[in-house]
Amino acid sequence: MAISRVARVGAIAAISALALTACSTGGTDAPGASGDCAPSDGPVTLTFTSWLPGVEEAVAIWNEENPDIQVEVQTGPNGNGGTYQNFFNQLAAGNAPDLGQIEFDAMPNFRVQDGLENIAACEGILEAEDQFVGWTWSQVTFGEENAVYAIPQDTGPMAMFYRADLFEAAGIPVPTTWEEYEAAAAQIREQGGYINNFSQSDINAFAGLVWQAGGEWFSNDADGWTVDMTGAETTQVAEYWQGLIDNDLVAVYPPWTDEWNAAYNSSELWTWVSAVWGANTIASGAPDTAGNWAVAPMPQWEAGASAAGNWGGSTTAVLKGSDHPYEAAQFALWLNTDADALTAMNRTANIYPATIAGAQLPVFGEGVEFYGGQKIYEVFAEAGNNVDPNFTWGPTMTQVYNDVADGFSGAVSGNGTLLDALTAGQDATIAALKAASIPVKE
């Protein structure tokens, strides 16, 4: 009897404790409100979740120099691969890490879910604006006054990786416009290869192509969001790639698979229009082709133009509920501006810094052996300057990527077109926004 009563009390206590934690979704107090970002007393330990390979090395430098502000790194899968979902769950449970890696395209989602601390009031943050490439700063401020929601880390200006040896041997000129690219695709197909792979699940890469063309899927003002995934520029890009797919001029391997790597390694695929960090992807995925690659600017829609898109790039954000926003902000700023930290992160993860000075680091002036000794970062630096700064991401990009990828996977197997997929994706996105009660203008 006695035991059972104890057990009952224990069980009830356990349940109510659990119910209480479940109910207290996040703190209601907002220490990040402008005006209060004071240093904490005494030693501080911060938690930082990132999926950047080898980020521990850069953090070790900080920990060495700042015995009172120790940072613990937790690693996870890439953002859309699970870390974002973890962040959202942790935010709901009120135990998110102090700092998290968040890509530019996911920033509005975290903002809408109220997952970010505004660190504008923290010392030195607003003043840091000048150190960063212009468009990256507008991505973390959302264009608001007195608001900074994260510190930009790296960018992904896009260019064209191509097999210089194959192009030369076949006597095909390296394409500078998308028209020439299509002509080259036909010639390469005659030789048995493919000019590129249409990566059906890399919707953010497709968005980079739309970005280059001057299109924009989302915009917002005080009244709500506008979704436009079938505008003139998007249609142009979608129809162009649809033509390549229809005429069997591009391969359709699922990207990021061994099958896809093998196609590059076996010289079946001749180019990849990708971001700066892709340099690492090819080098590790297609080791047999070392020395044969080169980098040229993206093909253009208008001859002589120099527009570039961007694919990827991250920020370091201070997540809602952090007890030490001041220290967290200082660390985030240091991590992404300090020359030693940026060099370390470039060495382990090939990141391309979002700071203006970062792009001048010695490592970016060197020739890269895998690319025949070409100083490839000069091409990307140029591309970075040509990225349209006013590109806005939507507040539910994980959903947008899923829905459009579902449609694209139908399109590559002959079921519908890319434009159909984008139209359906737009409808699904509007529905998702409404479901989250995010105001949409139609």
Partner: protein, 298 residues
């Protein structure tokens, strides 16, 4: 009778303390990791989000059946349920049929080395399903497979074929497990029945058909219901196959749909989908159980 009950009841009272000690570990874990999450999911499914302005903070409010209406209007969710039902209608009978044949072979006195085969057939179940899916994914890949002669001509990962390629993986993993359940049911059949059958002149085939199979029907029903539940909850294999095939969408199975809805994040809708899926599974298992019980009774 009446006295029996009284005695039993008083015994129960006397041992209530001991009972609690033995039940406590199970009870606490059951409540914490089963009941509470289920109740929390139901609670979540009744909420909806409200916010003001473009970046206005979200407030969760009671939404009644809003999320359930959204579930019933969600095309991809019902398509995914249709897809796994089609999968189940084809795959479950095949898998249980193979499992039954293997169990009968193991039980037959004509087979030598049945211990070895019992282990060999069961071994795939010991392979974690993620590993099994990755292994089969490579076997199916057009250019990486050791059987490129087949895979480069027949695309086993295409939109038309991938569901059945996954069915093959699931069958490979679970056939041995189901075989073992049926086999243990076979072992519990009293030898006298066989003896009587042999005296009546029945051969091995006749014994299998007229005695063994009817007597393992309860085991078949059990494995059948487990398989239906497993089919409706398919997640691992299709998720792994997303990295091998273009054709596995983010709403390929109900659980994948729930997973991608939760990562939007739209937790309340995902919770409502989970509840609807659980009820569908329950209804289906119950129907199968009733149907087969009536059949057995006849």
């Amino acid at each position: 009778m009446a006295r029996d009950t009284v005695v039993k009841a008083s015994k129960g009272v006397r041992h209530r303390g001991a009972l609690a000690v033995f039940l406590l570990p199970f009870g606490v874990l059951f409540v914490l990791f089963y009941l509470v999450p289920v109740l929390y999911a139901i609670y979540q499914s009744l909420l909806t989000v409200e916010r003001e302005g473009t970046f206005g903070p979200a407030v969760q409010v009671f939404g009644g059946l809003t999320q359930y209406i959204a579930v019933f209007q969600n095309g991809p969710f019902w398509e995914s349920i249709g897809r796994v039902l089609l999968f189940g209608v084809v795959q479950v009978p095949i898998m249980l049929g193979v499992a039954l044949v293997l169990a009968l072979l193991l039980d037959s006195p004509l087979i030598r080395g049945s211990k070895f085969f019992r282990l060999a057939f069961f071994a795939p179940y010991a392979v974690p399903s993620v590993i099994a899916a990755i292994m089969w994914g490579f076997l199916y890949s057009p250019n990486l497979s050791p059987f490129t002669a087949v895979t480069s001509n027949i695309d086993l990962l295409s939109a038309d074929a991938v569901l059945w390629s996954i069915a093959n993986v699931v069958t490979w993993v679970y056939v041995g497990y189901n075989m073992l359940i049926i086999y243990s049911a076979l072992l519990s059949i009293p030898q006298e029945i066989y003896e009587a059958a042999r005296i009546d002149g029945a051969g091995q085939l006749r014994i299998a058909w007229s005695i063994k199979i009817p007597l393992v029907v309860p085991a078949l029903v059990l494995t059948g219901i487990f398989s239906i539940i497993g089919t409706l909850q398919l997640l691992t294999e299709p998720q792994v196959f997303q990295s091998f095939s273009n054709a596995v969408t983010s709403t390929f199975t109900p659980n994948l749909t729930i997973y991608s809805t939760a990562s939007v994040p739209n937790i309340s809708l995902a919770a409502a989908m989970s509840v609807v899926l659980a009820l569908t599974t329950f209804a289906l298992s119950f129907t199968v159980l009733k149907f087969t019980q009536r059949r057995t009774a006849e």
